[in-house]
């Protein structure tokens, strides 16, 4: 029997535990908690390059243009699409009046010029602007002019990038040439109430020019692993969960919950692709017949089913289907008989097996699963012709080795900085110095394929000068041309997914693949 003193201690401990578990903090009325795996190290748009920070900035700032869910370009801080000069080298953009920064200062052309110049100077992705724009100037109190280095038809799409959101020149006066990580003073529907890399609190901006947020504020939290994210939504600790960093099993479990009506699920437009890069300037992949054989040996449907539980649909093009220039069947389809024939043509199968080293990113769980599943699939289909030797390598090391031509076959993913086909073709195929079909310098070398083709670079450049159906035709032609050489093999498409608790409205995505945080609201009666 415990003594009275022991009983008192036990009781005190039980009371403490009960108090801790019962005393859940009160949530401010109407506020919504959104969880993701992405840490926000800096809120400076000039330093933004990752998906997580772009999502937060989309609530705090406004771009000049936005891509609507149906793909249309809508003016936001601009009031109309750019007015181009006859030679296409000057673009005038009228700006919205009556917009106020979160510090109370007015938004005008000078502020926009300040922000764009600052981005060109210190932006991590500053090259996206400075490669295309020679100068930015104010041509009126609410009009700016961009002087382009060459005609650039995806200009409004580039200007829809949230990293180009304007910041208050007054608040950033001391940070004209230096980043400001812990604050953000922009024009968006929310203003920043508090920041830490793991937690940001956003409250509605009372003087916002547009539609006011449907909720009373946002709390954005970072949870470091997939189990924690999954558990936080299941237990109701958070209201909305974004799938970035969430393991496939957890995504599948949440999908089932949503199908059963216990959660709300929304899939956004896919802006991320998974692909294989083939080193085309070294044997054995220097032989286009071998590359074509590998292209036919890839059972995307099986891989999608086994690795991603059908969450990542198979992809046979480099451009996500929601973007202009899409060509859904550009790359060769799975055909093991044809693959065998091609391997034979290249001198394999008859007692000679191609040993192919495949490198995957060891810090991404699904990449490992992909490598092992493809290895098993090839063993099943073409065991006498080809065998994969799979090796894991940490991402940063692998990217370094990729550009040095050390990886024969590498599986990774790519997400465009802004939603345009150019952002998927140029980073993979661009080449500034070539010899024949071999790219010596440029994006194609950095991406590990070292492949180009005479005239391809000119076609890529022309595709960003022209517009409309002509451009779409050219983009499709570039894809077809690339698919015949197979320097890359698109594998699957990775769409953003958001899940919300049933008492919330279903999350909505814009055309850039970002959740419209301002539209999240608690629904009456749920």
């Amino acid at each position: 029997m415990p003594s009275a003193r022991q009983a008192c201690r036990l009781l005190a401990l039980a009371l403490l535990v009960a108090a801790l578990t019962a005393c859940q903090p009160q949530r401010p009325a109407g506020s919504v908690i959104v969880a993701t795996k992405n840490r926000i190290d800096s809120l400076d748009p000039a330093k933004a390059s990752r998906v997580g920070v772009m999502q937060v900035l989309s609530a705090l700032g406004d771009p000049l243009y936005a891509i609507a869910a149906d793909g249309r370009i809508e003016p936001r801080l601009a009031t109309a699409l750019p007015r181009l000069s006859a030679d296409g080298l000057r673009a005038r953009i009228p700006l919205r009046r009556g917009v106020v920064f979160h510090d109370g200062t007015p938004f005008d052309a000078a502020a926009m010029v300040f922000s764009l110049e600052r981005f060109r100077k210190i932006g991590t992705l500053g090259y996206q602007l400075s490669d295309r724009v020679a100068a930015v100037r104010a041509t009126g109190s609410h009009e700016i002019e961009l002087e382009l280095k060459q005609p650039f038809s995806p200009l409004p799409r580039l200007l829809s990038a949230i990293f180009l959101t304007p910041v208050s020149p007054t608040a950033y006066r001391a940070h004209r040439d230096a980043p400001l990580a812990s604050r953000f003073v922009g024009t968006g529907p929310y203003r920043l109430a508090s920041w830490s890399p793991q937690q940001q609190r956003l409250v509605p901006w009372e003087r916002y020019w547009g539609r006011r947020p449907a909720n009373g504020g946002l709390a954005l939290v970072t949870l470091g692993n997939s189990t924690a994210l999954y558990g936080a939504l299941r237990s109701g600790e958070v209201d909305v969960l974004l799938n970035s960093g969430l393991e496939i099993d957890h995504q599948q479990a949440l999908h089932r919950e949503a199908a059963a009506g216990r959660l709300r699920e929304t899939v956004g437009p896919a802006m991320e692709i998974g692909l294989l890069s083939l080193l085309t300037d070294q044997p054995p992949l220097a032989d286009p017949v071998v590359r074509e054989a590998i292209a036919h040996s890839l059972d995307r449907s099986l891989l999608s089913r086994r690795v991603s539980l059908d969450i990542r649909p198979p992809l046979r093009q480099l451009i996500p289907p929601s973007l202009p220039g899409s060509d859904p069947a550009a790359w060769p389809d799975y055909d093991p008989a044809r693959a065998r024939g091609l391997f034979r043509q290249a001198g394999y199968c008859r007692g000679r097996r191609l040993e192919l080293p495949l490198t995957f990113r060891s810090d991404i769980p699904s990449d490992r699963l992909f490598a092992l599943t493809w290895q098993a699939q090839l063993r099943r289909d073409l065991d006498d012709c080809v065998a994969l030797e799979v090796t894991g390598m940490e991402s940063t090391t692998a990217y370094d080795q990729l550009g040095k031509g050390s990886l024969a076959l590498f599986f990774y993913d790519w997400i465009g900085d802004y939603p345009d086909a150019e952002n998927f073709l140029v980073p993979l195929l661009g080449c500034s110095k070539a010899r024949g079909d071999r790219c010596l310098e440029g994006n194609s070398a950095l991406s590990g394929s070292f492949w180009t083709s005479p005239g391809l670079e000119e076609e890529l450049q022309r595709s960003s000068r022209i517009d409309g159906p002509q451009r779409i035709g050219l983009l499709q032609a570039i894809q077809r041309r690339t698919s015949r050489a197979n320097p890359y093999l698109p594998v699957w498409l990775m769409a953003p997914v958001a899940w919300a608790r049933p008492e919330l409205s279903p999350p909505r995505y814009d055309g850039s693949g970002r959740v419209q945080l301002g539209e999240l609201r608690r629904e009456a009666g749920r």
Binding site: D41, K47, S49, Q198, A228, T397
Partner: protein
């Protein structure tokens, strides 16, 4: 030479050697980071940024300078107490350390106190009847908790108490909807000083699972250390002498055996504290605890040279200080120790 002077000489020698040790460590980290494969530019820009942009960023970060020049710059900064600026976060390293170190220390200290309380209580409980049921259970507890894989244990605790039962938060350090307390960075202390109950409860709720998990994992060390040393002490001559003087068993254990048995435990505590300064990585990662270990792991993945160097130097300096302090304390408590 008097004992006090001996001790002073010993401490002075240890402290005088500390800068040399820190310099060696800092140099080693500097070199290893640059020898290791991977490029900070890839981590910051991804693999497909144009060569010109990569070159510009390399220049901006000073990575284009000769290695010796970079090393000289790093040492110069270090001598001035400047740890540099994080390449990824563009924040001073000192600010990042100031934000993350208190989180690790708070978690570590609370876990250590809990671990010592539980571990010593369990270790002590079997003394009355050695090899009895309680003693056996204590031994099993000691071995079991010591052998538990931390990551697995943390995941199970998280799943049971946070996901299934929903009693406590799954991760993080503070409720998302509250404003964290400002001050020292030790949330418990800051919220107590501010007299803010919601903040205190919020901090405690978030601290409970990671601290309890870490405490359970650490408690086995205390259990085993106390149990073994206490048994050894109870079989020693001075204890027999005390018993033969007719002292009660309670007095023999508490006043004669226990103080001697606790001395090695103090050394173990010192080593544990030193290891916890660097953070309990797996616990921090599992419970999304924003501590210095998780930050270091991320900095290594990003090849954030200044941040890795800065964290290693700060942690090493603290470890040196703690080990010297523990040596000093043990020497003060145990007159048998010679230097």
């Amino acid at each position: 030479m008097s004992r006090r002077r001996e001790l002073a000489r010993y401490v002075a020698a240890r402290l005088a050697l500390a800068p040399v040790m820190l310099w060696l460590l800092a140099s080693l980290v500097f070199l290893l980071l640059r020898v290791a494969p991977g490029d900070p530019i890839d981590a910051l820009l991804g693999p497909k940024a144009p060569a010109a942009a990569r070159a510009a960023l390399r220049q901006q970060l000073g990575l284009d300078r000769p290695l010796l020049e970079q090393y000289g710059h790093f040492l110069g900064q270090l001598l001035r107490g400047d740890l540099g600026t994080s390449q990824a976060a563009q924040e001073p390293v000192t600010a990042i350390v100031r934000d993350t170190l208190p989180a690790s220390l708070e978690l570590g200290l609370v876990a250590l106190i809990l671990a010592a309380a539980v571990g010593l209580a369990v270790g002590f409980s079997g003394i009355a009847r050695p090899e009895g049921k309680v003693d056996l259970a204590g031994r099993l507890f000691g071995i079991g908790t010591y052998a538990l894989p931390p990551f697995w244990a943390a995941m199970v605790v998280q799943l049971v108490f946070a996901v299934w039962l929903g009693w406590l938060p799954v991760g993080g350090r503070f409720p998302a909807t509250l404003v964290p307390p400002s001050g020292s960075g030790f949330y418990l202390l800051d919220s107590l000083r501010a007299g803010n109950l919601p903040q205190l409860l919020g901090s405690l709720r978030h601290l409970a699972l990671p601290a309890a998990t870490l405490a359970v994992l650490l408690s086995g060390i205390f259990t085993n250390a106390l149990r073994l040393n206490l048994r050894r002490a109870l079989g020693s001559d001075y204890v027999e002498a005390a018993r033969s003087r007719g002292l009660s068993e309670r007095r023999v254990v508490l006043h004669h055996a226990l103080p001697n048995a606790l001395l090695p435990v103090l050394t173990i505590t010192g080593i544990t504290v030193a290891s916890l300064i660097g953070g309990a990585l797996l616990i921090e990662v599992t419970f999304s605890w924003p501590g210095i270990a998780a930050r270091l792991q991320e900095a290594i993945a990003q090849r954030d040279y200044p941040l890795v160097q800065g964290i290693v130097v700060v942690v090493a300096a603290l470890v040196v200080l703690v080990t010297v302090a523990v040596d000093l304390l043990v020497a003060l408590l145990d007159p048998r120790i010679r230097f």
